[in-house]
Symmetry: C2
Subunit: 578 residues, 2 copies
């Protein structure tokens, strides 16, 4: 069926190999500098594209990436599929049920981190129209800028939280769930904007109508398709060749919904995103199929898309420093303000909302996708597009360090000071996670005067939301409790190991039960961060597990050994060194 | 970067979803009828294409698969990538070292199963020119038909051997290694033919020159790239994000070599195939990366390619029954004769070569790929292409049943008659596979009067070629020995289980050491087939492992219980029922 000429075939494979190879190389380079890979991939595109190679080796550039040729259509096909597949796997990561389960805090933070950036973005082209060269008109451009600032980048945020070992903390769950609310609302808005662009009508009535229609479609897909997925997945997984059947089901559903949404005037990516959410939400989807799709798409299709951005955009001629700076400031400011407002409404300390807002500032891949689509639809021109891409890069690179900065302020809580002799269960008898929590809750009850059953109940409820197995043989079941003045930590060791559903599948030999006062987010984060820092050292973990009793265990926690007179200081140093 | 219109995007996603969904559905249907999935995928294409849907719903067909549109270029891109990726994973499956290690038998069988089909195919257009409407000229068409008959389908053969539980037998290894020789030579020839087509010169001298050049390039890639892969894989696997780094390395190398070979006039697929062979041969490539690439390509890209065949070919107007029948007969006959000749040269009994030739007759995917490329290059027309596709389907469907047919002839060898009291080691003391082989060889030596060390050495040498862990707790180390009149079987049980590197990772609790006379292929196959048939029944395995001694063990082998007076007959029935 393929009727490409030999020259076209050579060009197609050369350009794909160049994009993929350079993209991965730069992605890897940036990963080693502790920055998200996507930034490296975008950089690779600017290097291969008109910005650098187009200037240094214009002939080579024109040969490998010829404008308007059939080989370019071929590369564009993969880029288009890349975007749709990226949204499909982004959707697979959204866990609707956990958003709903978490309740009030997520509702407030999620709503305000959408609303405030959206308002700021909408205001920008109205207040400062001189910044924009775009022709999209007085309704669409503000709406789009609002949406562009409201959206966030789930995969980047997941990465930041994993790097900082905060993925399993309440703080991490709040950020993740709120980001899901951001993304979902953002894509909903964007679909409405595209419909307005295509129909040309922009009255308040038609706007609301379109919004309701899109939301209605989303609701139907998310209930109907989710129901179908739950129904059919066990059958497919047991009857059809596995994992092939499930992989094809996911990809085909994504393609079908993409075609459907595109046909009715919403962009294909929204359909793919919804397909991902609906299928990914099914508890019956097994990890292996998800892993294969995720790995192939994020390693092959994603670099092709991110590199393609730079191929198509000459930064040298379309760079507006003022617009870029303004957008970046608004991007950080909007999310920080949103997190602050949401945090206040749900009773958090203002200081504790700073890391939440910083993490959610990361725009990453999603921002670039929405920008490139807006440019195709003629909503924005090259200059605004370039500003959006650079803003995405800056927020993606900046979010991690900012979170670290705001988390660094020590408050004198050190793990070794929290674990006294009554907090130490030398060897637990528990065989399962439930038994282990009950056993440690008993010890915590004796120490605090609280009811053991209350502790067990709250910790288990938290565990049900997301398991607290950190991996590397450590688990940190925790809960917030009324009636304690400060953090309480109880630690138990297990010879056989207890399954806490850790990402690496290893059983937990060291289990820390952590109770913190309800309003004190910071205390929980401090304790969790210290545990993961201290026990990521193999030597410390070995000493702690070999310890004959409390004294030896306690000594193992002091990195400089028993001679160290200032454990608090030593702890601080370790923490900063990360 | 993607500048498709909304209508184009809808058409692209609809056609891809239709192709993928229908392809998988039919693939699954055929799999359930115990036929290769690829046959179902090809059928789905004829259903969606001009043959059926083009006749029943011509408007729908023209809308979803519009001729010459940009959306068609998009689908063609994926089909092109599909072919190249398929050859890449086909290459990953070729294990050059095992071919070289096996020596004489593979050399002869491999050579003759290439040579005889090639000669038959070359002769056909010369002897019966009236059968062909093609215009490729008096040199290229015969060369192509020869190559088309010489090539075989490694993945289908692997599947047939796995289904018949013969993958681990010497017989299976002979077939696999010979098929690799077939494929490698076939693609080499095909590359030469394409070069002749493009340069227009076809003298014997230039033919030899082209062949040597292509073979030289292959040699350079297979030594140089293989060396590089061996050198870089451990580094990449330990330093770069895993498995992402390796996945990108494999795909990028495949694309680069595809571009390179296409640029110098050999088709892209040969480069992708060589890249696969070079990297796949590295013992340092970990299974997980291979699995992700394999699953995504064989489940997403492969169906798109196989379905596309039918989209592009109207069977109704291009079906030549005589040509199709002739080709099919030659396809089976050529491989059977080749296996016979090769078998005689390496000292096999003629009867034993029948299943070898039948298995190697399966043409599957590779035949279809070579046919579709030949058609693009104008070597063959629609009629010959249709005949090749149907021949590929018929040989793919027919090979499995034929192998079964030729293996069915019982010779009175039954497992229970071979295992007498001196052959039974109630519980072995061995902990490792090596110790286990030595322990059982001792028993076998006592029984046969052979030297235990000789037996151990031969069985271990065989084990080193490919481990004999069948999975499901059964292992069958074996060797051919001079000095025995018929098959000798010794069985030992292990309480802890012994690691025989089985595909399912389970340790072996039942180990059968099998010695057969050198020339008697059939005896080995009979014994192996009986073991896998009998012990695939959970009940039998449980009884055998619970048996208190020889009497109970022996009784467990009789499916009908101790009352069964005719074990031979019962065995035959079980065998046929598979």
């Amino acid at each position: 069926m393929s009727h490409f000429s030999s020259h076209e075939i050579t060009v197609i494979f050369t350009s794909l190999a160049l994009m993929l190879g350079t993209g991965k190389l730069f992605g890897e380079l940036f990963r080693r500098m502790r920055m998200p890979q996507v930034v490296g991939e975008i950089m690779a595109g600017f290097l291969l594209g008109p910005t650098v190679m187009g200037r240094l080796a214009p002939d080579f550039f024109a040969t490998v990436f010829p404008a308007g040729a059939r080989s370019t259509v071929a590369v564009e096909t993969l880029v288009l599929l890349g975007v749709v597949f990226l949204l499909l796997i982004a959707g697979l990561e959204v866990d609707l049920s956990s958003v709903i389960k978490q309740g009030r805090a997520v509702m407030w933070t999620g709503a305000f981190t959408v609303a405030i950036p959206f308002l700021l973005g909408t205001a920008l082209p109205i207040v400062m129209p001189g910044l924009f060269n775009d022709t999209a008109g007085p309704v669409v451009l503000p709406l789009f800028m609002g949406t562009a600032l409201a959206i966030t980048a789930l995969p980047v945020i997941v990465k930041i939280l994993l790097d900082l070992k905060l993925f399993h903390s309440d703080f991490g769950m709040l950020i993740l769930a709120s980001a899901m609310v951001n993304d979902f609302t953002g894509w909903l808005f964007f679909s409405v904007i595209i419909q307005i662009m295509q129909t040309g009508s922009a009255s308040a009535g038609s706007l609301l109508g379109t919004l309701l229609l899109t939301a209605g479609l989303a609701a139907i897909i998310l209930t109907g398709l989710r129901y179908l997925a739950n129904l059919s997945l066990p059958w497919i997984q047991s009857r059809m060749e596995w994992p092939g059947g499930v992989i094809v089901l996911i990809v085909t559903t994504g393609l079908l919904l993409a075609a459907l949404t595109e046909a009715i005037g919403i962009h294909a990516i929204f359909g793919a995103f919804l397909a991902g959410v609906a299928i990914g939400d099914s508890p019956r989807l097994r990890g292996h199929s998800r892993e294969i799709i995720h790995q192939f798409i994020s390693n092959i299709f994603a670099p092709l898309f991110f590199v393609s951005i730079g191929l198509d955009l000459d930064l040298g001629s379309h760079f507006s420093p003022v617009l870029t700076l303004t957008l970046t400031v608004l991007a950080f400011g909007g999310k920080m303000l949103g997190a602050l407002a949401g945090g206040i409404m749900s009773g958090m300390k203002p200081r504790d909302t700073l890391p939440v807002g910083s993490a959610m500032s990361a725009r990453g891949a999603m921002e670039v996708i929405i920008g490139s689509l807006a440019r195709q639809y003629g909503i924005i021109g090259d200059e605004t597009y370039a500003a959006i891409v650079i803003m995405a890069v800056l927020t993606t690179v900046g979010a991690g360090p900012l979170v670290r900065l705001f988390m660094k302020k020590e408050r004198g809580i050190t793990l070794s000071s929290l674990i006294d002799r009554p907090s130490f269960v030398s060897w637990m008898t528990a065989q399962s996670a439930d038994e282990c929590i009950a056993e440690l809750a008993h010890t915590a009850a004796a120490k605090t005067g609280l009811e053991a059953l209350d502790i067990t109940r709250l910790v288990m409820a938290r565990e049900a939301l997301m398991s607290t197995g950190l991996g590397e043989n450590v688990a940190v079941p925790h809960a917030r409790m009324e009636g304690i003045g400060g953090p309480v930590v109880v630690v138990g060791r297990s010879r056989e190991g207890i399954d806490f559903n850790a990402p690496d599948g290893l059983p937990a030999h060291l289990v820390f039960l952590i109770l913190t006062p309800p309003a004190d987010h910071d205390a929980q984060i401090q304790v969790l961060a210290q545990i993961s820092t201290i026990f990521s050292q193999e030597r410390v973990k070995r000493l702690a597990l070999q310890a004959k009793g409390y004294i030896e265990f306690s000594a193992a926690l002091h990195p400089a050994g028993a001679a160290d007179k200032e454990p608090k200081h030593a702890r601080g140093a370790t923490h900063e060194a990360r």
